[in-house]
Amino acid sequence: MDIRSQVAMVFHLDKCIGCHTCSIACKNVWTDRKGADYMWWNNVETKPGTGYPTQWENQEEYKGGWMVKDGKLQLRLTSKGKFLQKIFHQPSLPTMDEYYEPWTYRYEDLFNGPEQDDQPTAIPVSKVTGQYIDIEAGPNWDDDLGGSPLYARNDVNLSALSEEQRLQLLSIETLVMFYLPRICNHCANPACVAACPSGAIYKRGEDGIVLINQNVCRGWRYCVSACPYKKVFYNWSTGKSEKCLLCYPRVETGQAPACFHSCVGRIRYMGVLLYDADKIEAAGLKPDAELVTAHRDLLADPNDPAVIESARKNGVTEQVLQSARKSPVYRFVKDWGLALAPHPEYRTFPSLFYVPALGPVTYSMENGVALNPTSTEEIFAPLEQARLPMSYLASLFGAGQEAPVRYAMKKMLAIRTWKRATEVGDVDLKVALAGLREADCDPEQAEAIYRLTSLCSFEDRFVIPASHREQAVEVLTNPLERKGAAGFGFREAPQRGF
């Protein structure tokens, strides 16, 4: 047993309104720089949709994540033997065209334009070349199904659907969408770390945040290809890779990251998970059908004495252990089984879990025509009448398995019905209770889920222990030596080349 601590996350998609406030908060803090201007460490996608970069889920093309080969876990990108062959040209690297070319407008033309008959205009110019640009794509080009069916049709997850279901999703009366906010998953088995030729990417032992040492990165670009979620970005100006750092200066002081803090729908939760690093490899070798369970088995019970002992041996502090017992993430993932990792079949074991979106799942269909619900019974119709096919969500969150997704959705629906019965009273309490039992839930748990979902305060959502990095530094070096050099990063301008 090798228990480590991980700062983990839950995004409750049922509450996401797709406002992109998280993306803007991140952009303003971290990526408003030359070379990083195209990066969105946090982005919000509309699903069904192709996402950012386009079709990032298509691992046939991008070769991200892990695969099992000859009974061993291997990067999909390359075997160790053929590793250096790809260093001169990375065949599966997405280029700027797969993201988008960042642009601005020449606003000064509005003021400096010559006197003429027509109004002056601010033409779009590329932020790379400074030349006029014909804008062809953006980071959320298919927002709210814009451009569908051109974009939505190319969603990789749709391949799990029947032709009929696909047609239904694309016709205007029955279409459905939800939002998927994405940041780096700070995986337990990160493919980017394993692929980095220079060993520049590392996982912090204390909190599991995955970072790139900018002084060691040599721009070989393997990480960009290897990350199946395409959350490592190449800074084309400095020639170094960059990624989401989970606002670690904030997390270290017990604050929520910028994207979490600014979330309008309050969909984001952050807390500590303890996991057994010794089990990772065996879990990664499990077949697709068992991956969700294997991932949950990695997560250790913070009340188990053996777990606590092993964690202490690894230097996990009492404060961290305490907050692990109060972790909202542990409740959503382990206690309640509501939250699921994105694409577990990539075998990186993300530390970010999603509660799948329930609404608008219910809808009745007659001869292919969708009917508006007219009664409470119809609003709380069974999952079988869901407008979004379960197989779609299974492709996204269940490695193709419907069971774990169905379990979560069923429980959420049962709680919704239960609350309707207790608060409004137009649903029979007995029926609602039977529904709860059927969904592996009881009134007590239903109440707890309801509270953490709907009435959660800031302190409920973010249970983040402040780190003790300052103490750890004191053990190793004289802090006065570092006085004046304190802070994070290096004090050299990130300039390209020599």
Partner: protein
């Protein structure tokens, strides 16, 4: 006098600067060590340029190194004409690959609108010198044949004499100017090495083969 300056003074300046500046740069400006890849901005013509250039030049370079370390082995190999032809032909074709590659890279640098943005003056100088180095090498191979033989008898002893701090420029003084220029631009490449993106050659990630797949750094176990 000129010979001493060009083939004793200049090589030493280039070598010393290459070593000292590379180390200083690695220590003081580690952030500047990068391949500065532009594949993210343009990938298709880079595939041809970069692949042909790197594979071609790696074979040519290892040929030079082999002849430098084991000149007698080359002479013994060349004892049979067929083997001599085979060696020369392989070297020449690899050099041609590198030539096509470097030309493709130069064309790409000056035609792609995005790649132009990330091109520095030193990149241009470096590409020009590399182009000259490969072109002059091919010219020598065609006009002054059996280079693998005279490399072993003249060039290798001269280069060794430099390393042993007992320079013998007279070994290459009688060689044609084209050959001498090839030497000079070779030393120029060494001189340019620490100042340009060529430093990526010094940090080729061979350690990847020995390291564990996951890197976990604990604060309490030491700072990095």
């Amino acid at each position: 006098m000129l010979t001493n300056f060009l083939f004793v003074g200049f090589p030493y300046v280039a070598l010393v600067l290459a070593i000292v500046v590379s180390i200083l740069r690695f220590t003081w400006r580690p952030f500047s060590y990068s391949s500065l890849s532009s594949q993210f901005l343009e990938t298709e013509s880079l595939f041809w340029g970069s692949s042909l250039w790197h594979w071609g030049i790696l074979w040519v370079l290892s040929g030079h190194l082999f002849a430098f370390f084991l000149p007698e082995a080359i002479l013994a190999w060349n004892a049979r004409p067929l083997r001599l032809y085979l060696l020369e032909l392989t070297g020449l074709s690899m050099a041609l690959l590198a030539l096509v590659g470097v030309v493709a890279l130069i064309v790409r640098r000056f035609t792609d609108r995005r790649v132009k943005v990330v091109t520095s003056p030193l990149d241009v100088v470096l590409l020009a010198v590399l182009l000259y180095q490969v072109a002059s090498g091919i010219d020598v191979a065609i006009r002054y044949r059996w280079g693998s033989a005279w490399f072993s008898t003249n060039a290798a002893p001269y280069l060794w004499s430099l390393l042993k701090l007992a320079p013998r420029p007279e070994l290459i003084a009688p060689l044609p100017w084209m050959v001498k220029l090839h030497f000079l631009s070779g030393f120029l490449v060494i001189l340019l090495l620490p100042f340009t993106r060529l430093v990526h050659f010094l940090v080729v990630p061979i350690f990847y083969y020995w390291r564990r797949p996951q890197v976990v750094i604990w604060n309490r176990k030491g700072l990095r």
